[in-house]
């Protein structure tokens, strides 16, 4: 499935994922940090009030002296409309509450110095507890303070809502942007494709201009151009080869046709017909050999003949060839000589063929009394 997606789609999707991911990470971090900051602020405010109250209560000797402090406590704790305060005696009686109807769940009474919070009728409250030891032994008070922090919670839920909205908008926007970016980034590829699509046997000479292309596409295009070049080369060779065959075969064919027609033009003796057929056979054999040679050359040219690489003793090979040509040379009054020896890695059959061609040409063009010398040596 993923494999079949277009490059443009793939790139825009990746772009979108990356951007949305970054935004999400930033949003979540911001959320977390600000949440901690607000908790810190609350703790700080509570701590301050708690310390002030502790100082105030610390001056008492016994719990039942508390009513004397009521005005100061009221000034300290009543001024803040989001604050709730309770002062309890050691036996759990509520000695003081500000505002007077304020309730704090009993389960927090023992959680001294830790920050605690609870929901109450859709409102979030956060508070702290402290024990105050009084001057007279065995006398102590429990102090509970709680702050209504609902507006913080509201702020965070709004923040989160906006974060999600921003995420969705960003995803859509980045997908669109990514599509545009990918399209324009891939334009060189489309241009290359267009040129490649117009290549045919007729236009194998054409090359994709490489200078203006981005670096990433250079290797692709240069290998494509290389392929075109090889194709062009092979194509030219192939057409030349067919043209050569046609041309080379024309001469013996003309000879054959003319000869046959002339012979048939009137009645002749048996010997004459035989002669004509022998003549034709010679021509035909020459043509067959021509085709063999041309095919061999074409194959060699196109790398279809893979030569062996085996050690070949050159002096033995030459000796064998000279042996083959000796009588012909004797008849022509040409001397054959061989000197030196050497071992090379090669294809004995092909070497023999090549040397044989050389020798037969040499024999053809060496006048009587001459000498053909084959010298084997390194670097000669």
């Amino acid at each position: 499935m993923i494999r079949r997606l277009s490059l443009t789609t793939r790139l825009s999707l990746l772009f979108m994922l990356a951007l949305t991911g970054v935004l999400l990470a930033v949003g979540l971090t911001f959320n977390l940090l600000s949440r901690e900051h607000f908790v810190d602020l609350d703790r700080h405010a509570l701590h301050e009030k708690l310390q002030a109250s502790q100082r105030l209560l610390g001056s008492l000797r016994r719990a039942d002296e508390l009513p004397a402090l009521r005005p100061q406590l009221h000034t300290l704790l009543g001024a803040h409309q989001d604050l709730r305060a309770q002062i309890l005696a050691a036996d759990g009686r509520v000695l003081f509450a500000e505002p007077s109807e304020a309730a704090i769940p009993a389960r927090f009474r023992s959680q001294t110095h830790a920050l605690w919070e609870w929901w109450e009728e859709g409102r979030l409250l956060r508070g702290m507890t402290a024990e105050v030891a009084l001057a007279e032994p065995g006398q102590s008070l429990t102090l509970l303070l709680a702050l209504d922090v609902t507006h913080h919670a509201d702020f965070f839920s709004a923040l989160q809502r906006w974060l999600w909205i921003a995420l969705v908008v960003c995803a859509l926007l980045s997908a669109g942007l990514g599509w545009l970016v990918a399209r324009s980034g891939l334009r060189p590829l489309r241009e290359v494709t267009q040129v490649a699509a117009t290549v045919s046997a007729r236009s194998l000479k054409e090359r994709i201009p490489q200078a203006a292309l981005p670096v990433e596409l250079q290797p692709l295009v240069s290998s494509f151009n290389g392929m075109l070049e090889r194709l062009d080369d092979a194509f030219v060779r192939l057409s030349n080869f067919s043209a050569d065959i046609a041309h080379e075969l024309r001469t013996p064919l003309t000879q054959l046709m003319t000869h046959t027609e002339v012979v048939l033009s009137r009645a002749r003796s048996l010997e004459e017909y035989q002669d004509a057929l022998y003549g034709n056979l010679e021509d035909l054999k020459r043509m067959a050999r021509m085709i063999d040679d041309m095919l061999f050359l074409a194959k060699a040219d196109n790398g279809l003949i893979v030569p062996e690489r085996k050690p070949v003793a050159l002096h033995e090979l030459v000796e064998q060839l000279l042996d083959y040509y000796r009588w012909l040379a004797e008849e022509a009054g040409v001397e054959l000589e061989q000197e030196g020896s050497g071992l090379i890695a090669g294809d004995a059959g092909m070497l023999r063929r090549a040397l044989s061609n050389l020798l037969s040409n040499a024999l053809r063009y060496t006048p009587a009394g001459g000498c053909i010398r084959v010298r084997i040596g390194a670097g000669v």
Binding site: Y278, A288, D323, W327, E331, N357, S360
Partner: protein
């Protein structure tokens, strides 16, 4: 000796049949692979000559099914395509020989005789004789009419080849490959010269002449009837 020729090109088929018949073989001719398979399974032949490219079953397939049916008859392939993979494939399938078109008929004939001879295990003779020509293969000696003839090693090898295949036309390419191990066609007249030298020693001054030239095809050694 019975030969089956399977060749879808009618002219080539007819000429092959004519040539082989005139060389003394009894020849059946079919024009498709399926017919070839039928005939080869129904009758016993000494040799099959199969064209590789045939409609229906090609030569490879005929051979594969024949060998599958346990037939060990020698098979010679004719093909217009000369690719190494083809040769390898043919040999793997159990073909005995492989001839690329266009071929000289004399070459085909020589190979057919070689394949047919392969079947008959005969003790290699140590002495050969034609008319009054006697050759001792062990002592490497030749004499005619009781008169000793001196031959070089190559001349002896050439004479031995002609004698062993007495009465057969040997194409020049076959002589070059058997005597000098030159396995390619060349248009030099090395073989003409060699034959001329051998003739000078074997036939000059003797009657009847034993070495004959078959124009356009090759040479043969035989005593006149």
């Amino acid at each position: 000796m019975k030969i089956l020729v399977a060749e879808d090109e009618p002219k080539i088929g007819v000429y092959l049949q004519q040539g082989l018949s005139e060389a003394g073989f009894s020849v059946d001719r079919v024009a498709s692979g399926s017919e070839a398979l039928q005939c080869a399974l129904a009758e016993s032949y000494d040799l099959l000559i199969l064209d590789v490219m045939m409609p229906g079953l090609d030569g490879w397939e005929v051979l594969r099914r024949l060998r599958g049916a346990g037939q060990a008859v020698p098979v010679l392939f004719l093909t217009a395509r000369d690719r190494i993979e083809d040769r390898v494939k043919g040999l793997e399938l159990g073909a005995d020989d492989y001839l690329v078109k266009p071929f000289a008929f004399a070459e085909l004939l020589a190979r057919v005789r070689t394949l047919l001879r392969r079947g008959q295990a005969s003790a290699a003779p140590t002495r050969l004789q034609v008319a009054d020509l006697e050759v001792d293969l062990l002592k490497r000696r030749a004499s005619r009419g009781g008169q000793r003839i001196d031959l070089t090693a190559k001349e002896f090898a050439l004479l031995e080849l002609l004698l062993r295949r007495q009465g057969e036309v040997l194409p020049k390419s076959l002589i070059a490959s058997q005597v000098w191990d030159m396995n390619f066609d060349s248009d030099t007249n090395v073989i003409e010269v060699a034959i001329r030298r051998l003739r000078a020693k074997i036939d000059d001054g003797f009657e009847p002449k034993l070495i004959h030239t078959v124009r356009g095809m090759g040479y043969l050694l035989d005593a006149p009837e």
